[in-house]
Symmetry: C2
Subunit: 238 residues, 2 copies
DNA sequence: ACGGCTCACATTGTCAACAATCGACTGTCT
DNA sequence: AGACAGTCGATTGTTGACAATGTGAGCCGT
């Protein structure tokens, strides 16, 4: 609609001024604290305490919490309390089974449209992930792996799919982060993702499908085993 | 208070006491108003006005609005305004393409576990839908169709999948409701769903898959055409 | 000693007032 | 006449106080 836009020199790089609104800022901070493990799964969150901690009133904090509830990281019961979501084997199974379907769907969407920039982007993110793994930086590896997979979703341009991925990513990161804190090294080995990317750039869609299925099965199994061990320990410790 | 109710005969059916909290109540009311067409797509929502209208303060209303934003029914830009989401052809394409994938996934999950109660539930919802169509009650038909498909998702017990369906259902209902208001009769004919259910109860998974694909293609095309006509009219009218 | 009741505390839900920001209008300068 | 700066109204963002609700401890009666 008549944007006129004459100049606007290089709009892309400097578009990120703080942009205001506490809500988003707080939500980011809280999310980071949860995924970082500063607040552990199952812990109760009290609005007044957090409000003080963030130095804001309860209003914006409330809205931030509600956003995290929608992301599936928090659970609230009225007039009673709000807790960080707990870790459960069932959830992991659901997340990984869903990822298989969604990721294959993503590749269906983009398969015929894979261009140079897609290939380059994918390889770049694989390199970044590999670098993090080689540097043995687990936290960075988790982020890099999420970005590798996230790039595929983004590339489809399918807004609804991206939304859905966003709603899963948080929980996935929560599990990985917990795994990382417990065992140190977590991520799949390098070659796992090498094969994944190779298939993604190949012309054999069926091979990619089974690679995704295997990839997820491996990841899911690994995470499940970690959780089962954790549960066993919890029972023992109680 | 302290109802003490030792008896509580039949705990399952009466679990739904009002349960308090304005937020949910307002969210329901607002959602209904939007889907009903009382507030039309693209319209601006002003917090103060709605707060008066609902007879509550801006606090709870704000949270209800934020919930609808997460459901994809509203769009807010900070300090500026909140609008009901507009109707777009791209969105419809995305929704229907996603539905194909999700619904096939749902049947994959439940295929081997289809028991008597599943079959009965499915048929019951088909009958309900058929009755609404025969009665030419479009509004009820829309709800019934959503419940038919929703039943499949629910039956999987896959919480994440159900969540995802919930996040799509609102938008889908928005489009159908708009279509209904514009053209009166909207829904696919009876036999479309008859075949769908027949396949869902058969033992031929591949046949079901193609039926779902066709089913969605028909629905998507129909909705798309409606939207294109609407856009053309809008351009003409402007 | 056990079950039920009451009461106080902790926490969330709700409200009305205040501040920050955006968009458009208007008046002025070139 | 055109463009820019300043200002005004509208709307959302934020705040602190107050009300409703759920939970657990302690008390009383049996």
């Amino acid at each position: 609609m008549a944007d006129g836009a004459k100049g606007k020199t290089a709009g892309s790089v400097l578009a990120r001024v703080p942009k205001a609104t506490f809500r988003a800022h707080i939500a980011d901070g809280l999310r980071a604290a949860i995924l970082n493990g500063d607040i552990e799964p199952g812990a109760q969150l009290v609005e007044t305490v957090l409000a003080d901690q963030f130095g804001v009133s309860r209003g914006p904090l409330r809205e931030a919490m509600r956003q995290l509830i929608d992301e599936g990281l928090l659970i609230a019961v009225p007039y009673t309390g709000t807790h960080v979501v707990g870790l459960s084997v069932d959830d992991v199974r659901e997340i990984y089974s869903m990822r298989v379907t969604l990721e294959i769907f993503a590749f269906e969407q983009i398969w015929a449209r894979r261009d140079q920039s897609f290939r380059q982007g994918l390889v770049a993110r694989l390199d970044a992930l590999t670098a993090c793994i080689d540097a043995e930086d687990d936290a960075a590896s988790i982020v890099a792996e999420l970005q590798l997979h996230g790039f595929v979703y983004e590339a489809t341009g399918h807004k609804l799919l991206i939304r859905t991925w966003d709603s899963i990513r948080g929980r996935l990161q929560l599990y990985w982060a917990a795994h990382h804190r417990a065992h140190g090294i977590r991520g799949p080995r390098r070659d796992g993702h090498d094969r994944y990317v190779a298939m993604a750039l190949s012309d054999d869609f069926d091979a990619l499908k089974s690679e995704i299925t295997d990839h997820m099965a491996r990841g899911g199994r690994q995470t499940e085993e970690f959780l089962r061990g954790r549960e066993a320990r919890a029972v023992q410790g109680s």
